[in-house]
Every structure is written in structure tokens, then in C-alpha cells.
Amino acid sequence: MSMTTVARPEETTFELVVGMEVHAQVLTQSKMFCRCATDYQGAPPNTRTCPVCLALPGALPVINRAAVEATIRTGLALNCRINETAVFARKNYTYPDLPKGYQISQYELPLCADGYLEIDLEDGSTKRVRIRRVHLEEDTGRSVHEGGYSYIDLNRAGVPLMEIVTEADIHSPEEAYAYLTRLRATLRALGVSSGDMEKGALRCEPNISVRTLEQKARGEYGVKVEVKNLNSFRSVRNAIAYEMERQIAILRAGGSVEQVNMGWDEERQCTVLQRGKEDAHDYRYFPEPDLPPLRIPREEVERLAATLPELPAAKRNRYEQAWGLRRTEANILSGEAAVARFFEEAVAAYGESDGKPQRLATWMTGELFRLLYADGEGQDLRQIASIKIRPTQFAALLKLVDDKVINPNTGKKVLEIMYVTGEDPQVIVEREGLAMVSDVSAIDEAIAAIFAANPTELARYRAGEEKLFGFFMGQVMRATKGKADPAAAKERLLQLIRG
């Protein structure tokens, strides 16, 4: 070494390197290799099984066509190459939650490979996270451990599962969050997975390492730690941030990171050792002899490509470019298919000119989402598909505000009533007598009465105490039950108060 100075470990700069493995249950009616129903949520144990998913001798698997199509569509949405030949493989795995003693998965020839997903960075730029592969496999059963026994329910065993694996392209906890958000939005837009993490339909396993810039220059990587048991995107982000700090601290102290599996402790917000290094990577994959290979002709890929909907990123761009939406609202409204549908139907009824889509977006993400979040289980915008307000009614409400039939504050009140009753806004405004008073004589009448009732305040105002104007303005709004057109009321009050 000819270098005269050596960077002290505590000054070393580290780069975070994360690869993400996502398992998404595929939305099919029947399982991956048998025709048992997939509606296992809430079903009594072992009531969705058959000789195939129980691994009874002689039973043979048959591939679910819908699961294959869903995976190819996902691969296309993720800009992957669809392999002309795809093969299933046995992954040896000896736990009772898969009674065959192996999981049918894919190894050498997955359905889809070499794609990318574009994500937004905080500075407004975009970045491609490369997708290494998307393959199809089967879910395991569920086991409950209690009193020295494991209780096995095989209802979930064999449910189709897509595995989506990135290259190690993610370099911050925020990028991981952005990737997962965009991926889930894409899966939901395609209708291939519910993406519900809390129901176990989507599982994320980041593998996390850090490396010095010298290692990076040499194309080397640090030791990877895999984190499991993450039940929200926020947990994923926090776990990555925590692991990064933990690993850097170890390296700065002169230690070395061990290749282990960690679990995430949500309560204490830290990673905990799950089990040490295991030789479990000895899965001894081999081609599944019970399943003939898949040959996917180009025409089939083209047919499926034609079924892809507009994806969230494209929708977002359209909202920004064609309708002038701000990035924040454009992202929120394009992220869920049901929300986008509501928004677009409302725009169609309301209009695209004069910043109307942005005004609609502001009302939707502000007032309507506030009601949605406060409703039922909350926090899930997909509820919008079942609310009583129709997009056309929502547009009608904004028109009433635009036309000064009601003022914005009254508009919020009307929206709350609409949310409960599903009535047209005009009906509510009429019944409740909420129409804005811009009739000058009515306002003048109210002002005269207020002056008569508050002679002292009026005298003080006229003697120069101008801050009392607010008091009078408040009285006018109250006297008209908030229905006075604020601009008209202010104008009349300014006129009359001078005496």
C-alpha cells in the first residue's frame, strides 16, 4: 500500500444496499395446482383441501391458467421479458405447513425476468428499480404453535403466490417505501392481488447490507441481513433504517456483520435475531416432473399485453399534464384504482377547464378523504367504491360552491350530510335552507338590527376602534346563519358602518 493516510473507521462513508423480495397472493378463485377455493380467510380449518394440497399419494397437480395469466400481466407491467419456456421446480422444504415435503416454485426458467419499475424520488426525479424476476409458486399452510405442538391448517396451502424480486438497487429507506407503494398500486391496478399486508396477501422481505465506497468501487457487497415479519410499508422503512444504523455501528466498531435472518419487533421498533445462519439454502431445486413445461407463444403475450389497464404512473402523469394537478394530489388520486375512477368520473361531470380538476382534487383529498378516514375501519381509501356519494353528486356540490349558491364552509356541511344520506346536494341545500344570502336588502336588514342591538360597539368603532369590524362581520354571519355571501356582507357592512 502506498497510501499514506488511512481513513479512520468512524469517518468511513457507507452506502446502503437493499434488494426487495415481495410475495403477493394472486387473486384467483381456486388454488395454484388444485381447484380448492381460495376463500380461506375466516373459514374453519382444513375445509379447503383435497388430495392434491393434502399431498395424498398419487394426486397430481394441474396449473391454474388464471394465475399464469396474472403473472404474465404483472411481468409486462413491470417491463419484464416473458420467457418463451417456463418451468416449475420443486424446492425441498421439510415443514408440515406444506405436506408434500417441497414447495412447487420456479427456479431456472421463471415466467418473467429482467424488468424494472420506475419510482419517484423525493427531489422530484424518477429512478428505475430493476426487477430480476417474477415467478409463480404456492403458499404454505398456516401453523399455530402451542404447548409443544403445532396445529396445522392447510386451507392456505397451495394458494397461488407471485414472487417479485428486485436487483439490489434500493439505496435508502424512502426508496424502499416508494418502491413498495408503487408496486402495490400496480398490482391493484392490474387486479392481480389485493395487496393487503394486514391480511397476509402481501409480504415484504428486504435484504439489507451496507458497503464502503471502496467496496462499491470494486463491485463488492457487504454481508446481507434478511428481515421478516414486517406488516406495513412503514415497518419496512423503519426496519431498513434501523438495520442500516446497526450494521454501520458494528463496522465502525471494527466488527463484522453476520449473515442472519432478523425479525422486526414492532413494539420496540428494532430488529431481533430470528435464527442464525442456516444451511437452509440447500433447497435442492429440480424440475417438477408432475408438471409439463409452459410454452408461451408471442401472440399470447401480445393478447395479455392488450389487457393491461393504464398503470398508476401513467395516470399520475396524465393528471399532471392534461389536468394541471399538483404532484401530491396526482399521486394520491392515481394510487388506487377505485379512487382514480371516482376522481375521473367527477372530473367528467364537473369539467376540465379553469383549474377545475385541481379544485376537485383538493376537495377530494381534503374534505372527502377526511370523512372516509373517519369511517368504519378507516385508513383504506378503497372504501370509496362503496360510499353513498356518487361522483356526479360530488361534482354538483362543487358547482354549487362555484356558482355561489352556497359558500365553501356550507359546502363542507352539505358534504357531511351527503356522506350519510347519499342525497343530491341541491336537495339538502333546499331542505335545510342553506343557500347563500347575497340579496343586499336582506343583508342590510340584518346589519341594521345588529347596529341597533350593539350601540356601544358601534360608537367605539366610529371613534376609531377599527378592530371591532371583525366583531360586526361575525354578527352578520351569525344573524344569517352563515349563509351570507361573505364578500357581499363585507361590502355592505363597510358601507353602512361609517354611518
Binding site: 377455493a37 375445509t47 383441501t49 391454474n64 405442538y149 396445522i152 391448517d153 409439463p292 409452459l294 410454452r295
Partner: protein, 96 residues
């Protein structure tokens, strides 16, 4: 091809088999003999032959995504050596 004692222990471990030292020695011998026999195939020149995992001229055997009735819980559990409350019951998978 001679399997070492460690090879056999490793494979037994993966298969969750608990073997005595005596059995490990015996299986190392027997499995080596089987592999030696199969190894005679290596004498054939296969440099021009692509890997052939499938011998039947079949491809794209798929079923439509239509659920069929599953087995009743009692039937599914009929052959289970141990069961409780509709579950299969096995010795704990993960040691505490």
C-alpha cells in the same frame, strides 16, 4: 463417487432424519454404491444432448380457474395420526 460421513449427515439433517453413527456409516456405503452404479452413465457422450427433464410430448396443461368442492374436514383428517379441533396436530416445529 464416495459420499463422506459428513455428506450423509448433512442430507439426513435436511430430511429431518435422526440417524445413529452405525446407520450413517451403513448409508454412506450403500448410497455410494448406488451413485457409483448411476455414474456409469457418465461414460456416454451427451455433449450434443440438451437437458431433458420432460420425456412426454406435453406442454401447457392447465385448468380453468373454477373452484370445485373440497373434502369435508373429517375426511381430510381421516388419515391423520393426531388431530385436534379440526387441525392436524404435530410435534412443535420450532424448538423453544
Amino acid at each position: 463417487m464416495h459420499l463422506t460421513i459428513d455428506d450423509v449427515r448433512h442430507v439426513a439433517d435436511l430430511a429431518r432424519l435422526h440417524l445413529t453413527d452405525e446407520e450413517v456409516r451403513l448409508y454412506a456405503q450403500q448410497l455410494s454404491a448406488i451413485l457409483d452404479y448411476a455414474e456409469r452413465l457418465q461414460e456416454v457422450d451427451t455433449s450434443d444432448v440438451p437437458p431433458t427433464p420432460y420425456v412426454l410430448p406435453l406442454q401447457n396443461v392447465m385448468a380453468e380457474d373454477v373452484p370445485q368442492p373440497s373434502l369435508l374436514n373429517e375426511v381430510a383428517l381421516a388419515n391423520a395420526p393426531d388431530k385436534a379441533d379440526g387441525f392436524f396436530r404435530v410435534r412443535a416445529v420450532f424448538e423453544e
